[in-house]
Structure formats: structure tokens, C-alpha cells
């Protein structure tokens, strides 16, 4: 046998790997966000909204590139995770956000939220939410200016016709009864919330479109059911306890987007199965507490960021290890 036919490499088992990469997962997340993104463009008009989305994504990639340069790291653009962060950030911004603010948000998300902790996989907090939090505390007025859905169809562009409040805002200011009467009936309110025909951030208003993306991620096994289910259930039950309408409470605000796309961010959520459930319950509690007692009408962002901080503790809730509880004394 000719020696040039043999050139053996020796590696440790396993000698075969599943055909999946980080970029495959991120691509799936981007696909899952398509319905909510299209919904945002439809409700709030493509003219400015599309700009917000494109600026957010491009700034995120640019920030990642500069961050890699700064820390002399190998390029991580290929993994598409900055694209996910950029898009998610855009979806949680008001449709009327000025582009310069979007750029600041995207740079904060990538550089402060991710790169300084070591890049992908090392960020303790959800980067998109870090970006949004920075904007929220820096330009609170711009971050709470909302436009009415389909404002772009309205011919008279008076301030009254354009500005609106989110349903959670209305409740905080004037109570639930006023909100229902504004929509005509409870059913009409639910329908508007489910379809997304209400004021709010670009991609957060339609529970239906987010759910479609969420179910896609569940079906593709990109995310685990534990966090979204325990989070949404907790908000449902606790809202009921506080005398709030539980159905309204889960459909309103950023809960669905937060539950399926933000709280499930890998590096800022627990890896253990039971840790995920406790994490979901924890952020559910904080969300409802902020909505009920806090100065802000919505609590999804801060509750997830707070929950992120406790992830190392949630990860201490270990699964059952085969045969270990049956361990006999003294046996190693």
C-alpha cells in the first residue's frame, strides 16, 4: 500500500458533529422576526420605520466590527448575532425614533451590552434591552412618544392625529374603563391587541405575529418552551391577583416579544431546565409589580434585565443527575 494514500489525523471522539452552527440559529431567529417586522412596517408606515430598522441593523454590525477591531478579536460578523440584536432593538423602539438615536442605541447595545463582556455568549444582559435602557434613561421624552397605527394614512398631519398613547399608558393615566370605552368594547380591545392595531414600539404590538415567530422557534428547537410559558403564565396569574384583566395584561405592551425573543436570549438566560422556569416566574413577578406599582407603565424591559442579573443563581438549580440521589454513603 502506498504511503501517500495514508495521512492520519487523530482527534478525540466524537468524530462526527451535527450540521448546525451559531449562524444557523441566528438565521432562524431573524426568520422568526419577519412577521413582527412586516407588521411594524404595515401599522406604522414603511417610510420612517424601515429606516429605523435598517439603521439599527447596520449600526449593530458596524459596532460589532469596530468592537472586534478594538479588542483585536477575530471577526464575529459571520455569526449574524449582531443582526439579531440590531433588529430586536429596532422592534422595541418607538416608530418615530430619530435615526441618530437609533445609532446610539445600537452602539450601546453591541459595545456596552456585549463587546465589553467578551462578545457573543458572554453578555450577562440582553444586549438589545441594554441599548433600549440606555435610550430610555437618556431621552425619555423621545422614547415615550408614540404614533397611532396607520397615522401615515391620515391626511391632516396635526399633532393630535399622530401622537397617541400605548394601552398600558392609558391605564396608568386614566384607568382601564377609559381604555375599554376608547376601543368601544373589551372584545374590540382584545382584537386590536392581538392583531397589533394599537400604539407601541415597532414590533411589539401584534401578539399574533410574534406568536407565529415564537412557534417557529419552538418548532425549530431554537428556544425552549419553559421561559416564555412560565413568564406569560406568571403575568397572567399575578395580574389577576392584582385585579387587572389577565387577558389584557398578557396581550398588552412588550410581553410577547419579551417572552419569546428577549428573555430567551441564550447568554443572558439560564441553561438548566428548572432554572429557566424559575427565571420566567421571577421576571413575570417583576413585570407585574412594575406595571402595578412602578413609575413606568411597562415593566418587561427592566424585569428581564433584572432577571438577567440573577441567572448564575438560577443556574444553580441543577437537573436530576442519573443515579446520584440513589448514591450510597461512602461510594464514590
Amino acid at each position: 500500500m502506498a504511503d501517500d494514500m495514508i495521512d492520519l489525523v487523530v482527534t478525540s471522539a466524537p468524530h462526527v458533529r451535527k450540521k448546525i452552527a451559531t449562524s444557523t440559529i441566528m438565521r432562524d431567529v431573524l426568520i422568526a422576526l419577519i412577521p413582527a417586522t412586516i407588521g411594524g412596517l404595515y401599522f406604522f408606515g414603511a417610510r420612517h420605520t424601515l429606516g429605523v430598522i435598517v439603521v439599527a441593523i447596520l449600526s449593530a454590525f458596524l459596532a460589532e466590527y469596530l468592537g472586534n477591531l478594538m479588542f483585536r478579536k477575530k471577526s464575529t460578523l459571520w455569526d449574524l448575532s449582531s443582526g439579531v440584536t440590531g433588529l430586536l432593538l429596532a422592534l422595541v423602539l418607538p416608530p418615530s425614533s430619530p435615526y441618530w438615536m437609533v445609532v446610539v442605541g445600537a452602539f450601546s447595545a453591541i459595545l456596552l451590552g456585549k463587546i465589553i463582556f467578551g462578545g457573543i455568549g458572554s453578555n450577562p444582559f440582553n444586549p438589545a434591552l441594554v441599548g433600549r435602557a440606555v435610550l430610555m434613561v437618556s431621552w425619555p421624552a423621545l422614547m415615550t412618544t408614540w404614533v397611532k397605527p396607520f397615522y401615515w394614512k391620515i391626511s391632516s398631519r396635526s399633532v393630535d392625529a399622530v401622537t397617541s398613547a400605548t394601552p398600558l399608558n392609558v391605564i396608568k393615566l386614566s384607568g382601564y374603563a377609559n381604555l375599554i370605552s376608547a376601543f368601544g368594547s373589551k372584545g374590540a380591545l382584545y382584537k386590536a391587541l392581538f392583531l397589533g392595531n394599537v400604539g407601541g414600539s415597532i414590533g411589539e404590538t401584534s401578539a399574533l405575529l410574534i406568536l407565529i415567530g415564537g412557534l417557529y422557534l419552538l418548532a425549530r428547537k431554537v428556544i425552549d418552551w419553559r421561559i416564555p410559558v412560565s413568564y406569560i403564565m406568571t403575568v397572567f396569574v399575578l395580574s389577576f391577583v392584582f385585579g387587572r384583566d389577565p387577558i389584557f395584561s398578557i396581550l398588552a405592551g412588550g410581553l410577547f416579544l419579551g417572552a419569546f425573543f428577549m428573555a430567551t436570549d441564550y447568554s443572558s438566560s439560564p441553561v438548566t431546565p428548572n432554572g429557566k422556569i424559575v427565571f420566567g416566574i421571577f421576571i413575570g413577578f417583576v413585570t407585574v409589580l412594575i406595571r402595578q406599582f412602578g413609575a413606568y407603565p411597562e415593566g418587561v424591559m427592566f424585569s428581564i434585565i433584572l432577571g438577567n442579573a440573577f441567572v448564575p443563581y438560577f443556574d444553580k438549580i441543577k437537573p436530576h443527575v442519573y443515579g446520584v440521589l440513589l448514591k450510597k454513603g461512602g461510594k464514590a
Binding site: H15, V16, T22, P273, Y322
Partner: protein
């Protein structure tokens, strides 16, 4: 039919069982046989022949009086030309008997028996021990020891392991199709030795024809009340003893314990065939079935080869390589060992040999990307470990943390590395963490023993002093 499986963990792997429909073909005996004196877990044998001796097929060439061991026999007839250390598939060098074939195929006379009715447990066990039988699934634990549980341990069930969950390998499947009689006989022998009530043949549902065949034979022989066939949902690593016991019986082997702690003996179907041949035909373990597969070898298939046949002879005898050989794996792709040379022999525990070309490099890339904490490894671990966190602990050299995360309970099935999207070397690092922890434990135990000894000595001195003073 109900499908059994274990949970949590496990994954589907691409099967690539190309050789499923290739019946066993006997390869001609090799010109040289390299027979290591230790092919099992336990004490090594010492040679019972010397250089220049003539041996026949079946001649005892190595044995020991140590209890946990299995003797080795000549697999070809010819002359012993050397007794020296040779490279073995595990990567270490082992003292081996090298026999040059005279191609006369002379054999020692094997003693047949027609029935086991007149043989008691001890006699059956002796036949199995003398035949040098070890577990053929890969672990190569001496079978006679497995079948001799310590006093007080009652075995109620024998599970015949026909799961064969590794990709490429079809060794066990072919045994089940072609040697079903021997498997059933093997189970009956084990039930008699262990005085156990029931035998269960566990087969994954991607081999449903083998399950049907065995079930039919059991009914034909009217053995339904003794042996049953159980169908498992195809999932890796179901063929691991611990997973199999959980899947079939719902029992968990205690950490650090053995299947016999929960009243079970698990035996690979190939081993059962060998047991049957040892008892009824008096044949020692001198040949075995292996799967030869992979993209780089011509005529992939299932072959019966003599123990001690080296890979280079196997390549020539099956039809040669069809492209440059880049990776040679003994065993399956998930747990097998990559070889550094083609001059390694087939051992009793070799279930398959895989030949890969250039694509092997891409199949298991060296380069890692950052861990994204997706928890795929956590979901896939059949033991319930947190591979991602053990790996982090290992990389920080925090063995205390790795130990508290139960790293030593890892069964090294490879599933965590397999599912990892970042291609992290999880299994490899957990293995290393495990070795480091076990080594540390040994050191601690030795220290403790030394301390106890010193303490006892001091106490004695003190007592003597007091006695003198008193």
C-alpha cells in the same frame, strides 16, 4: 407495539448504516496475527507460549490466575515469531504474541455438548471463562465476572443489548439476523447461571425486522414466558448500559455502581452468541464480526475476522482504499478511537473499523467558536449533567466546581459535542476534568491512608509509653 426509551437527554444522529444489508463474510485468515495479552478490563495475562512454539487455532497463549481477567487464544495456526509490545487501538502499547500463519488452519479439538441440562452454574461459568469471553460491545469486561455477582446480589433480569445506537455500525444487527439461535441460547445459558427469571432482548425500532425475527423464534421455541423482545425508540446513546436499563425497566443504576446493583445484567447480543459457541461448541473467542465502513474503503460490509488481524491486512482483503485515508476509527463515530497507524490489530472488543477520507476533517472540526449558552448540551445529556458549565470549569481549571457538577458521572457518550453549534470540545474537556478529579481523589485517599497509618502508629507509641510508665 409500545416503544420504550429513556429520558431526559439523547439525540437523533444521522445513521449512515450503509452495511445493514451486507451479510457476514468470513475474511481469509491473516498472514500475521498480533494478539495482545490484555484485551479486557482487568489483570493482564502472561504468555503461556514462547518464541518458536508452534500453535494451533484455539491454543491457549496467555492466561493469569488473577480473578478479573480473560485468557487469550491463538486465532491462526503457525509459529510464534515474537512476544513484544505492540501498538493497540486504545493508543497504548501492550505485550502481544505475534504468530506467523502457516495457512494449515490446524485447530485444537473443541469439546461439543448437546445440552446444558447436565451442567451447573460453575461448569457453565468455567466454560465461558476458559473461552476468554469478554463484552463484545466495546467495554471488553470479562463476561465470567459479570455473570458472578457478589453474594447477596439477586439478578432478576438479563437484558440482551441489541440497541446498536452508533452510526455506521451494523455488527449487532447482523448478529441478530444471522445468529438469532445463538442469541436465544446465550440468554438461556445466562438465565441458568444467574438463576434469573426473565430475559429481555432490547432493539431500537430502526431494526424492526430483527425484532420481529427474534420474537417469531421465541414463539416457535415456546419461550415466551422466559424471553421477550422490547422495541426502543431510536435514540443515541440508548445502547449505553445505564440508558438501556432506564429505558427498559425504568431503573437507575446508582452513581458509581453497576447494573447488578439494580438486579440486572446487560449483555451485548454478540457476546451472547460467543457465550453460546463457547458452551455448546467449546470454541474460544478467536474471531468476531466487525463492520468495515466509511467513505474511504472499497466494499464496506460486515466481516468475520480473526482476533489479531491488523488493519493493513483488512484493507487489502476487503478490496483496498478508494481515496486518501485521513481518519481511521476503531468503534463507532461517537465514541470510537482515532488511530495513528494502520498497524493495529482487531481486538475482542472491536465492533467496527471506519475509514474516512478528507471529509473527516470537516465532520469533526478542530476549530471552536464561542459558546453561546444555547443549552443544547444540557438538553441532550442522558445523565442530566450541565456540560457547558463543566467545560467552563475545566477551562478555568476549577476542578472543585467540575466535581460539584458531577463530572465523574459522565459516560463519555459524545452527545454534548455532537449537538454543539459552536463545535466546542465538550466531551473531550469533561473527560479530562473527570480524569483529573479521579486522580486527585486517589491522591487524597493515599494521603488519608498515610495519615491514618501515622496516627495509628503514634497512638501505639503513646500506649506503649503509658504502659511503660504505668
Amino acid at each position: 407495539m409500545k416503544l420504550f426509551t429513556y429520558s431526559p437527554g439523547g439525540t437523533e444522529i444521522e445513521e449512515e448504516k450503509w452495511t445493514k444489508d451486507k451479510p457476514y463474510v468470513k475474511l481469509p485468515s491473516p498472514s500475521i496475527a498480533v494478539i495482545p495479552l490484555s484485551q479486557h478490563t482487568g489483570a493482564p495475562n502472561t504468555p503461556t507460549v514462547k518464541v518458536g512454539d508452534h500453535v494451533k487455532i484455539g491454543t491457549l497463549i496467555g492466561s493469569t490466575s488473577a480473578p478479573v481477567s480473560a485468557p487469550v487464544h491463538a486465532s491462526i495456526s503457525g509459529d510464534v515469531i515474537a512476544i513484544e509490545d505492540r501498538l493497540c487501538p486504545a493508543g497504548n502499547k501492550i505485550q502481544s504474541i505475534i504468530i506467523k500463519n502457516d495457512f494449515k488452519e490446524e485447530s485444537v479439538e473443541f469439546k461439543h455438548v448437546d445440552s446444558i441440562d447436565n451442567l451447573n452454574s460453575e461448569e457453565l461459568l468455567k466454560k465461558i471463562k476458559d473461552a476468554g469471553i469478554v463484552g463484545l460491545g466495546g467495554a471488553a469486561f470479562p463476561t465470567s465476572i459479570k455473570l458472578s455477582p457478589p453474594k447477596g446480589k439477586i439478578i432478576d433480569t438479563v437484558i440482551a443489548n441489541g440497541a446498536e445506537c452508533e452510526a455506521y455500525l451494523t455488527t449487532d444487527y447482523r448478529v441478530m439476523i444471522e445468529f438469532h439461535e445463538e442469541i436465544i441460547k446465550g440468554i438461556l445459558i445466562e438465565l441458568k447461571i444467574l438463576n434469573a427469571k426473565r430475559g429481555i432482548i432490547a432493539i431500537e425500532n430502526n431494526k424492526i425486522d430483527a425484532a420481529d425475527l427474534l420474537a417469531k423464534k421465541i414463539i416457535e421455541k415456546n419461550l415466551q414466558d422466559k424471553i421477550e423482545v422490547v422495541l426502543l425508540k431510536t435514540k443515541y446513546p440508548q445502547g449505553g448500559e445505564k440508558q438501556l436499563i432506564k429505558a427498559v425497566l425504568g431503573r437507575e443504576v446508582p452513581s458509581g455502581g453497576l447494573p447488578l446493583d439494580v438486579g440486572v445484567v446487560v449483555q451485548n447480543v454478540g457476546t451472547l452468541k460467543a457465550i453460546s459457541e463457547a458452551v455448546f461448541e467449546g470454541r474460544p473467542l478467536i474471531e468476531r464480526g466487525i463492520t468495515v465502513s466509511g467513505s474511504a474503503i472499497n466494499n464496506p460490509g460486515n466481516y468475520i475476522v480473526r482476533i489479531g488481524t491488523q488493519v493493513n491486512e483488512i484493507i487489502d482483503k476487503v478490496g483496498g482504499l478508494n481515496k486518501k485515508l485521513r481518519k481511521l476509527v476503531f468503534g463507532g463515530p461517537m465514541t470510537g478511537v482515532a488511530q495513528s497507524s494502520i498497524e493495529v490489530p482487531v481486538l475482542k472488543g472491536t465492533s467496527g473499523i471506519l475509514f474516512f477520507g478528507e471529509e473527516a476533517i470537516e465532520m469533526a472540526p478542530e476549530e471552536e467558536s464561542p459558546c453561546i449558552r444555547c443549552a443544547s448540551c444540557v438538553d441532550a445529556c442522558p445523565i442530566g449533567l450541565l456540560p457547558v458549565l463543566i467545560d467552563h470549569a475545566y477551562r478555568r481549571n476549577d476542578m472543585k466546581l467540575a466535581e460539584s457538577l458531577n463530572a465523574v458521572d459522565c459516560i463519555e457518550c459524545g452527545v454534548c459535542s455532537y449537538v454543539c453549534p459552536a463545535k466546542r470540545h465538550l466531551t473531550e474537556n469533561i473527560k479530562k476534568a473527570k480524569q483529573s478529579i479521579l486522580k486527585q481523589r486517589k491522591i487524597e485517599a493515599a494521603k488519608q491512608a498515610a495519615f491514618e497509618k501515622l496516627k495509628a502508629q503514634k497512638m501505639k507509641e503513646k500506649e506503649e509509653k503509658e504502659a511503660k510508665n504505668g
